[in-house]
Amino acid sequence: MLLELKGVKKVYQSGGVSFPALRGVDLRVEEGEMLSIMGPSGSGKSTLLHLLGLLDRPTEGEYLLLGKPTSALSEEERAYLRNRFVGFVFQAFFLLPRLSAVENVEVPMAYAGIPRQERHRRALALLERVGLLDKAKSLPNQLSGGQRQRVAIARALALNPPLLLADEPTGALDSKAGEEIMALFQALNRDGTTVIIVTHEPLVAEKTRRIVRVRDGEIVADERRGQGGGR
């Protein structure tokens, strides 16, 4: 079992009002799976993904990673896992605005202690893989939305993480680029990477064997099908 959520709740407090974004989620994901999370806007998909990516902590319930409770992890250990275990593609990309595309891809590798030369070489290879080698030196504000998204994907793949979490990774892409990215994810999944994708697009979700449906902070369906990609 790669990861498991047990009765996870997430309540946001803002301005004295508390909002339950997740109201008791149970989810198990095996190593090597590829699944999509679908649901209406505001249903808690990003919240769920943030929890899985150790960016946030559940208000209630437990998140087990490789069978071990994550609540016991120190900030340092969480940082390590975010760096090496999880690759995260944000819905809003979150590229560092002052760094060029290739430098953005290098950031996780810098925190992993990879020497500059090596890191630069690998970052260029990753950009080539997402079809953006010619934009390596461009700053994020010189890139289109789709191009930024691809830089964000290259960055998430920088340390070849065992778990890839992608929040609407094809949202800003045309269908051709979107298909290319999905093909890339499928290839990674065939090599053993566990891939979890949040998406609105049924065409994208169809490419995964398992679809988890979320509504109002709860999992309302967990469909597994024989056809499609993944295992």
Partner: protein
Amino acid sequence: MVAAEPGKGVGLRGKVGLSLEEVVHIALRAIATNPLRSALTALGVVIGVAAVVALTMVGQGTTQRITSLLEGLGTNLLTVGPAQGGRGPGGGLVRFGGPATLPLSDAHAIRETFPQEVVGVAPVAQGNFQLKYGVNNLRATVVGTWPDFAQVRNADPERGSFFTQEDVDLRRRVAVIGYGVAQDLFVGEDPLGQRLRIGGMPFTVVGVLPDKGDQGFASVNYQVFVPLSTYLQRLARLEAGEPKVNAIYVQGADRNHLKELQERLTQFLAERRGLVDPSTYDFSITNQQDALQSVNQTTLVMTLFLGGVAAISLLVGGIGIMNIMLVSVTERTREIGVRKALGARPKDILAQFLAESVVLSVGGGVLGVGLGLLMARLVGQAIGVSPVFSPLSAGVAFLFAIFVGGFFGLYPAWRAARLDPVEALRYE
């Protein structure tokens, strides 16, 4: 496989983190991103360090100059001068220029009454006169005195010799000239044996003093010494009555009894005048040792005071750094969130922001030392002091600047380090 190699089979625990070089690199980039703001942030430290460096340099230069000036004036020196209100630094050397008030007979009386305790007596009367040699003109201070002056005030000629008692007795028109006078008036010629005109009166040069260095006021380099008798008769054009002098220099025999001699002379001169109440004394005696001490004390107090002011300005510079760093942490909340999401530990974020403030303050420190040297030179030139560079005070100011950067950078960096990643990412 190397630990840095990416790949599968990553465990739950392990080491990540930036090297120091990496941290500094990130900091430098952040600083370069906003050069004007960075420069303004560092400015407080630049000014603080520059102030410490410049003030201590000028302060030490002043102390050294006054000390060497006082010491160059002769040893075991007591100066009898007109009554004075306070005894400021340099007392006993510059009460020139005022009217001559001391009766010359005091000098004779001191010589006769204290033959053991006093080894030299040199009364001086002086005024400014036009010097002329050939076509060259120069205005200089002409001092009439006794031959003891050479010994009492460390004024042995480098060439030729000082005038003698016989010259005084016979009122000869001979002169010993300062180094600067020799240079400027005799340009290239040997002054010895030449005749120059002082206030129109011809005098023969019998001695040239060595270069005493530029001592600013009362520079011996621009003085001319003539027998007192000649001076009083020919130059001061004294009318009838008791001749008066500006000051009387007295050299004590024994350094350890200088204080005692000072008291005895005071007593003696008061009795000669029939004065009892010290507040009515029309003369005063200053001790070179006192002057030295009070100079040292005054400059020490000044240096400490100014150093304190400078240190406060450094502190203000530190607060400036803290202020900007806090703003910068707020502005870069999103960046911090992204970095944390990508694997930055709290330590890495702390190091990044701390490095930024330390780089700013170190940069400020380096510029400050440079600017301080420049300021010291300019101020030194303006007030005629050659500043003394003290590696210690520059080093201390520099280290203090680094400390200020580290100390005041710590809080903003700590704030950045403990930001929650998701919260930080949400920040608009």
